[in-house]
């Protein structure tokens, strides 16, 4: 079974040289720490930055330079700043190669719910609805089950939807699941996890890939 760092490491294997990538808050942000050596990946922050650098040293902190999680960051060589309309313009027109998001629920048809829990204070969708409606390649990074032990991989989302049929792939502590017309297709299982356990913890339609294999993470 993976921890959150393991999930991030596995998702980092989906990166390709020259990719423009938008990483959501939480586990997705960790993916930036595992970009393979020698590979150049450019991170987009929807508040108006291409080329997010590492956190600043204490004496470099700049209130005008934050990421979409409102954390202080730095730039990299080749960075650019732009306004929020252009930022979502590049998202909407499909220029971002990979988007990694957290989720509360994913349905086996690729629907995603990650912005609102009825009865709880709603903080807002931020850029999530734009991202899921527009990005061409969306990977969800999340825990397979919620705190009550219930599957978050469902036949149908029970929470308010963020976007329809948009998720391509889900990576959880248990494995890697492609969204296919047949539902979640388990292509990899985490070390120490059985396929039976995955079946038990997945409520949506699940198929096991013929060539399913154990995940290898560095």
């Amino acid at each position: 079974m993976l921890d959150k760092f393991g999930i991030a490491k596995r998702i980092a294997q989906e990166l390709r040289d020259g990719y423009y990538v938008n990483l959501g808050i939480g586990i997705p942000t960790l993916v930036a720490n595992y970009v393979p050596e020698g590979m150049e990946v450019i991170l987009q922050s929807e508040n108006g930055l291409l080329g997010i650098g590492p956190f600043p040293y204490a004496d470099e902190v700049d209130a005008d330079l934050i990421n979409a999680g409102k954390q202080t960051v730095t730039t990299t060589k080749g960075s650019s700043f732009f306004d929020s309309a252009m930022s979502f313009g590049m998202i909407r027109s499909g220029r971002v190669d990979l988007t990694v998001l957290g989720a509360m629920e994913v349905a086996d048809n690729g629907d995603i719910a990650n912005w609102k829990i009825p009865g709880k204070m709603v903080k807002g969708m931020g850029g999530a609805m734009d991202l899921v409606a527009s990005a061409k390649n969306i990977i969800v990074a999340m825990q397979h089950v919620n705190k009550a032990g219930e599957s978050k991989l469902l036949a149908k989302c029970t929470l308010p939807i963020t976007g329809l049929g948009c998720v391509e792939k889900v990576v959880t502590e248990l494995g890697v699941f492609d969204i296919t017309p047949e539902g979640f297709r388990c292509v990899e299982y985490a070390p120490g996890v059985t396929l039976d356990y995955i079946k038990e913890k997945t409520l949506g339609r699940l198929v096991i890939a013929d060539d399913v294999k154990q995940m290898v993470i560095g």
């Binding site: 929807e46 954390q71 629907d111 931020g126 609805m129």
Partner: protein, 233 residues
């Protein structure tokens, strides 16, 4: 003579009255018009509708106007950083309309570009789509979303000149240039106000034609929500 310069924030906002619809630039606390917010609190104007990506924190940004109950309605994409906000929302004192961040940005741009409405896929199939027209183009569905109609846009820039030309810095740009184009009256506060001719015409983000009033702000706090750092090796 062009005369866009006002003395300070109090003069800039003096004709904003109860019930006005305001746009306020900024993302989180980054690039917010601190001086004008303080002046709005001093003026005590009420029943405001505020279009702003966020609602500040309890003791800074739009949070200051929430504390004094000056805001009737927030139109935002994310409002999670504010306990007073939550209290007013749950008690029904405050109306909130949540809209996707890209939709918020593009509805500002639409106003500035004289486009009455735009199409976006954001929110299709969600509760955001309720009551909205859905239209298909090339096999994909889009919502029709209307341009904002704000009485005043209040923005913060890094540099500005006496013609109202603005330059923003780093990610404090965010919604500011979009809102600057979108208000019936646009008020800009800047960290540095220079004479016309000192800014490179190629490097201006907001041409002065969009800006009605400009002043040099004072005492910028520029509070940071999350200071994240790394250690020197």
């Amino acid at each position: 003579m062009l005369n866009k310069i006002v003395k300070n924030a109090d003069e800039a906002i003096q004709d904003i009255s109860d019930g006005a619809v305001l746009m306020l630039g900024g993302f989180g606390l980054c690039g917010i018009p601190e001086n004008c917010i303080a002046a709005l609190v001093r003026k005590g104007v009420k029943n405001l509708t505020c279009i702003s990506n966020n609602a500040g924190v309890d003791d800074f940004g739009i949070g200051l106007m929430l504390k004094t109950r000056q805001v009737k309605k927030m139109i935002s994409s994310y409002v999670g950083e504010n306990a007073e906000f939550e209290r007013q929302l749950l008690s029904g004192e405050l109306e909130v309309e949540l809209i996707p961040q890209g939709t918020l940005a593009t509805r500002c741009m639409a106003a500035g570009y004289g486009m009455p409405a735009i199409f976006t896929p954001a929110g299709v199939g969600t509760e955001v789509a309720q009551g909205k027209e859905v239209r298909e183009f090339n096999g994909k569905q889009y919502l029709l979303e209307h341009a904002f109609n704000a009485d005043f846009a209040i923005v913060k820039a890094w540099k500005g000149d006496t013609h109202g030309n603005l330059i923003f810095r780093a990610t404090s740009r965010n919604f500011n240039p979009l809102m600057a184009m979108a208000g019936k009256i646009t008020i800009a506060e800047v960290e540095e106000l220079v004479p016309a001719g000192e800014l490179d015409p190629d490097m201006i983000h907001t041409p002065g034609i969009y800006v009605n009033r400009i002043f040099q702000g004072v005492n910028y706090e520029k509070r940071i929500e999350q200071v994240t750092t790394r250690l020197k090796d």
